[in-house]
Symmetry: C2
Subunit: 154 residues, 2 copies
DNA sequence: ATAGGTGCAAAGCATTTGCCGCGGT
DNA sequence: ACCGCGGCAAATGCTTTGCACCTAT
């Protein structure tokens, strides 16, 4: 069984080694935004002979190929998610560290206008909200959340 | 002559040493978003006996006191700006690396609403636009820009 | 006087890289 | 067979810290 990301790797003409296959599978199955350490943990669980250096190299390679996207939610470690589940941004729960994704269509035009007013064409943006859960959360929006690993730095 | 930030330090009951006074002055006069290295450079120019460790310590202290704000524009180094020139976000010119500030009042409500829909109270946010300069920039908005130091990492 | 600040160099962390044997294609 | 890949450990870049001395208050 070939994972979604393995397929993408092959299509991009990447050499598929054992460790890459495992990492591709882990990424394909990830529903969150794991950092390298976490990817290494999950990959090691499937195949002991993977070094963290390889995870770093692979993750960088896949990012260059546009297969992965790097995120920076603060805390000093990069986090990754597969490309192509549409434009979305993130809300981080400041107490638990959980990340919730949300669609950004509503205000994308507004950002574009802001850029235009300043004399620029908008190429991309980065938006993160930091919030605290309210007593009675109402869920009228699909949103998956996860736990943010404890930060080491700072 | 006592700089604006030195005043804030005193008001917050911080012990004012020679090096802190110099760093406070440099920060008070900064119109950009310098990183620690840059602050060290500017401070050293005024007083040779300042170590970069002290700049790191001071900058962290001032951030904890709410006098400074840390920014992360990517590139692996923190950048700082004095607190309290109002809510604003940043647009980064992808070609030159220049940073332009802009006001965010217009869409702040919208962000709040998004957070609410997801069941959160909005505490803060981070918004960065990346754009390319257009031929004829129209300037109807106060905006200062600067050059982004070359990134070392990635 | 004394709590806290400073310089220096070493330690920490996340990430990258050199070297060299190994494995896809 | 050939070129790229992976493991390991050393290197890197930013930031923090232990220690011994120094200085505002």
């Amino acid at each position: 069984m070939e994972s979604r990301i393995e397929r993408l790797c092959i299509d991009n003409g990447l050499k598929m080694t054992g460790q890459r296959r495992v990492i591709a599978r882990v990424l394909s199955e990830a529903e969150d935004h794991p950092d390298v350490e976490e990817l290494y943990r999950r990959s090691s669980a499937l195949d002991k002979r993977i070094s963290i250096a390889t995870v770093y190299r692979t993750v960088r390679l896949l990012e260059e190929q546009g297969i992965l996207e790097r995120r920076d939610f603060g805390g000093g470690r990069a986090r990754y998610e597969p490309s192509g589940h549409g434009h979305h941004d993130h809300l981080i729960d400041v107490e638990t560290g959980k990340v919730t994704e949300f669609e950004d269509d509503a205000y994308h035009d507004m950002l574009q206008q802001i850029a235009h007013r300043l004399g620029f064409d908008l190429i991309s943006h980065r938006l993160e909200l930091f919030g605290r859960r309210r007593n009675k959360p109402q869920s009228d929006q699909r949103a998956a959340s996860e736990t943010l690993p404890e930060r080491t730095k700072r």
